[in-house]
Amino acid sequence: MRHSGWFSFVVLVPMLAVVLCFLTLPIVAIFVDTGPLDLLSSLGEDGALEALRLSLTCSAIAVGFIVLFGTPAAYLLARRRFRGRAVLVTLVELPLVLPPAVAGIGLLAALGPKGVLGGLVEDAGIRLVLTTAGVILALTFVAAPFYLRQAQSAFEALDRTWLEASRTLGASEARTFLRVAIPTAGPGLISGLALAWGRALGEFGATLMFAGSFRGITQTVPLAIYERFSTDFTGALALSAVLVAVSAALLLSVKLLSGSAWLGSAAR
């Protein structure tokens, strides 16, 4: 802004300062209270590394499912106009506003032993409740809408003539989707992926209710933090710092990696 008047200095700047302080203080506090040594020793503690490994693999698998199923689904929602589309979009976004505890109960009611599809799941020989598979399911359920929303708006923003040009140049609908739609929507897809991954790494409530908190099987980092919290505050703090660092590093590298490779070219 070239002509910044009193409004900027008296209102906007202080408000931004307040917002920044409020949002960053807890994160800063975690690191202030935890020395690097505490960090390392907390990792050495029982279950910490296991929890971290579980968090990373489960969230990665969940994000994989989300991208695999969510990308074509979001494309359909974004590029076609059909009756009931608005209802579908709302249904897909519903988990966003669902409290995690409700999500956990819902998953139990649907896929638990006494759930609606519980019998089916059992007959197929799959055990979800209190298993690692259950963790992945819970993470997928909670994180998917974050990706779907972003992917849908990224696909909606595509220039229709790019897709049409591809068709007239001899590419089928499938090839157009793979060679034009996905690369040109790349930046939006990547940021959706980063959001969903972040959400999955931090997931707590639904995982706890659906999969429980068993070391090495279903205890992800947030659950491990909660377990220590009552007995070992320093340990909980150290593990929190690890989670923050890992999440930040992961998201940052996703953004940087894609930014240098193809985002630069697809951004207009």
């Binding site: 049409e164 068709r167 140049l169 001899g170 590419a171 034009v180 040109t184 070219s265």
Partner: protein
């Protein structure tokens, strides 16, 4: 031969056209925006299906609603140049051109793309991204890409309208040469009659979803079927070679004989444009008088009444038309075959370099 028949509801009006264009020939559909021009191209390319219609190209049938045949766009072999060119932003220029070239190793695809880019004089931009290209460069890449498919028909949507006025003339000249060379039927749409006249072998004027008149540009200008066509066809276009003169005027030796003067600067090959209502007619034996600089002996080809005016088609020997009142037409006793002198001012004569 590309044949198109289509009927479709389009918002406020109904598209109802029947067109054909021969191999190596370009039919230019001209009309105001919203007339349904682009819809015709979309029907041919298969991007939209009309309620009723039939599209065939050579001996291939692409659409026949009577039998339920609707070939997918990717199997229609149409080279479609979109209005804003629709280059893929994530691919380099050569990759855009190579996009339709399939089943060959990368090196061979690049070589073929470069060949096409070379033909349009933009081979040095092969590795550039579309967003870094100028409008004229994008247009060339887009045309090269459309040709890379070895299309059976070429469809061009306002190929010059995204260009600035300076690039437009040279790009138009280049495009006309390419169209002649390709030897496939071409359908072009434009809102600019001058553009249609320069690029199309035949011109169809489209309004409200219907082709209201078809013919050569000169025919349409000389004997418009309606006042809409008369207004739309607007300026007459003559070609010639310009030479700046000592008197500050530019003199243009017209192709086929005759010469005119313009106050606009110009040198070399030019298109001379003048509005029919700027042109006055006088009996053939009238001595030169008045302030008009341009006196061209002409032969009357046609006399067409449009409302309260008369559009007179002339041969000078290039086709030309004048618009005069009923009363003057009566006084001059104009009829096909009679001779007259067309006069107009040098200030009403616009020059476009070709």
């Amino acid at each position: 031969m590309l044949r198109v028949e289509a009927q479709a509801r389009l918002g406020a009006f109904t598209l109802d056209v029947a067109l054909e264009t021969a191999a190596g020939s370009c039919l230019a559909l001209a009309g105001p925006s919203g007339a349904g021009k682009t819809s015709v191209l979309r029907v041919v390319a298969g991007l939209v299906a009309p309620e009723r219609g039939r599209v065939s190209c050579g001996d291939e049938l692409w659409l026949d609603t009577a039998t339920g045949l609707d070939v997918a766009p990717e199997r229609r072999r149409c080279g479609y140049v979109f209005q804003e060119y629709a280059l893929f932003p994530h691919l380099r220029a050569w990759q855009n051109v190579a996009y339709p070239i399939r089943g060959l190793p990368r090196g061979e695809r690049r070589r073929r793309a470069l060949e096409l880019l070379e033909r349009f004089g933009v081979a040095d931009l092969a590795d550039a991204r579309p967003r870094t290209l100028s409008g004229g460069e994008r247009q060339r890449v887009a045309v090269a890409r459309a040709l890379a498919r070895r299309p059976a028909a070429l469809l061009l949507d306002e190929p010059l309208s995204a260009l600035d006025a300076r690039t437009r003339a040279s790009a138009g000249r280049e495009l006309a040469a390419v169209l002649r060379e390709t030897g496939v039927p071409t359908l072009l749409v434009t809102h600019d009659f001058t553009e249609a006249a320069l690029l199309g072998d035949r011109v169809g004027v489209i309004d409200g979803g219907r082709v209201v008149q078809q013919g050569s540009a000169a025919e349409l200008a000389a004997s418009p079927a309606s006042s809409f066509v008369a207004d739309f066809t607007g300026a007459v276009v003559l070609t010639g070679t310009a030479r700046p003169d000592a008197d500050g005027l530019t003199h243009v030796a017209l192709d086929g004989g005759g010469s005119v003067a313009s106050t606009e600067p110009g040198d070399g090959p030019v298109a001379v444009s003048v509005y029919p209502w700027e042109i006055a007619l006088a009996p053939a034996d009238t001595p030169r008088s008045g302030s008009a600089q341009n006196h061209l002996p002409v032969e009357v080809i046609s006399v067409t009444a449009i409302g309260n005016r008369i559009r007179v088609g002339l041969a000078a020997p290039q086709p030309l038309s004048a618009e005069i009142t009923d009363a003057s037409a009566g006084q001059l006793a104009l009829e096909p075959g009679s001779r007259a002198v067309a006069t107009w001012k040098a200030t009403a004569t616009r020059l476009l370099s070709r």
